[in-house]
Amino acid sequence: MVPTAYYLVLAAMLFSIGVAAFLIKRNVITIFISIELMLNAVNLTFVAFAHMWHQVSGQIFVFFVMVVAAAEAAVGLAIIISIFRTRQTLNVDEIDLMKS
């Protein structure tokens, strides 16, 4: 028997690491990867709550999150390819078209 709080704290750890990686990393692909990590952490809380309350709705929600994450990854990576093609860099410090 594992208390639900353990799963939630594990998810909180993964989410915080994702936030830290999102803020620290300078490579746009790695930033995108850390967004996926945060999505996974939230999915873990959904599954833990679904098991705690014996409801399938939480699992359905995770299913939809997965679908949206797949769509987001496809579009986001296409945007990254397009950025690299025009600016020849993946460093977010140099992608500042809207700043100047």
Binding site: A5, A12, L90
Partner: protein
């Protein structure tokens, strides 16, 4: 049994996430994320979500991460260099993430009912679980399910349009 699975694969997921944070090359970060996703799939299975465990392996670590690795190799992404912005990000990012973690775990551990309630009963029959999920998905949630198919279609079209070479 469940506690052992939780400790082993929770530690594996945490180690993978920390490795993602500390590696400098994007391909190493992507492969660490695969480790995190596979261990999360085991945790889903131990929580009685067999369908989601399979979908996690197939969709996340199978499809999405292959896409990431393809793009990293296509763009020939190298190690990231330290810049002025990255030092500022270290100064802000680590305390910020630690504050978020403290807030979340404080809520999770003090909220009444979460700390005391054990994760319920037996693991449940796999077939029953998938039957329940699909019954919910194809009756009550049919409209959202169909809308997601349109979302996927739009995403495919958008990806093709964005990544296409400009004429």
């Amino acid at each position: 049994m469940q506690l052992a699975l939780f400790i082993i694969f929770g530690a594996l997921a945490l180690g993978g996430a920390l490795n993602l944070l500390f590696q400098r090359h994007p391909i190493n970060s992507a492969l660490s994320l695969v480790v995190v996703m596979m261990s999360l799939a085991v945790l889903y299975w131990s929580l009685g979500a067999e369908f989601l465990a399979a979908a996690q392996v197939i969709v996340y670590s199978g499809a999405i991460m292959v896409l990431f690795v393809f793009v990293i190799m296509l763009l020939n992404a190298g190690e990231e260099e330290r810049t002025h912005g990255s030092r500022a990000a270290y100064a802000v990012g680590i305390p910020g993430a630690a504050a978020i973690f403290c807030l979340l775990s404080f809520v999770f551990l003090t909220e009444r009912g979460l700390g005391k309630s054990n994760v319920g009963g037996d693991l449940g029959n796999g077939v029953d679980n998938i039957a329940a999920v699909s019954q919910m998905l194809f009756t009550k949630q049919l409209l959202p399910f169909e809308v997601t198919s349109i979302l996927i279609l739009v995403a495919i079209l958008g990806a093709v349009v964005l990544a296409r070479k400009e004429q």
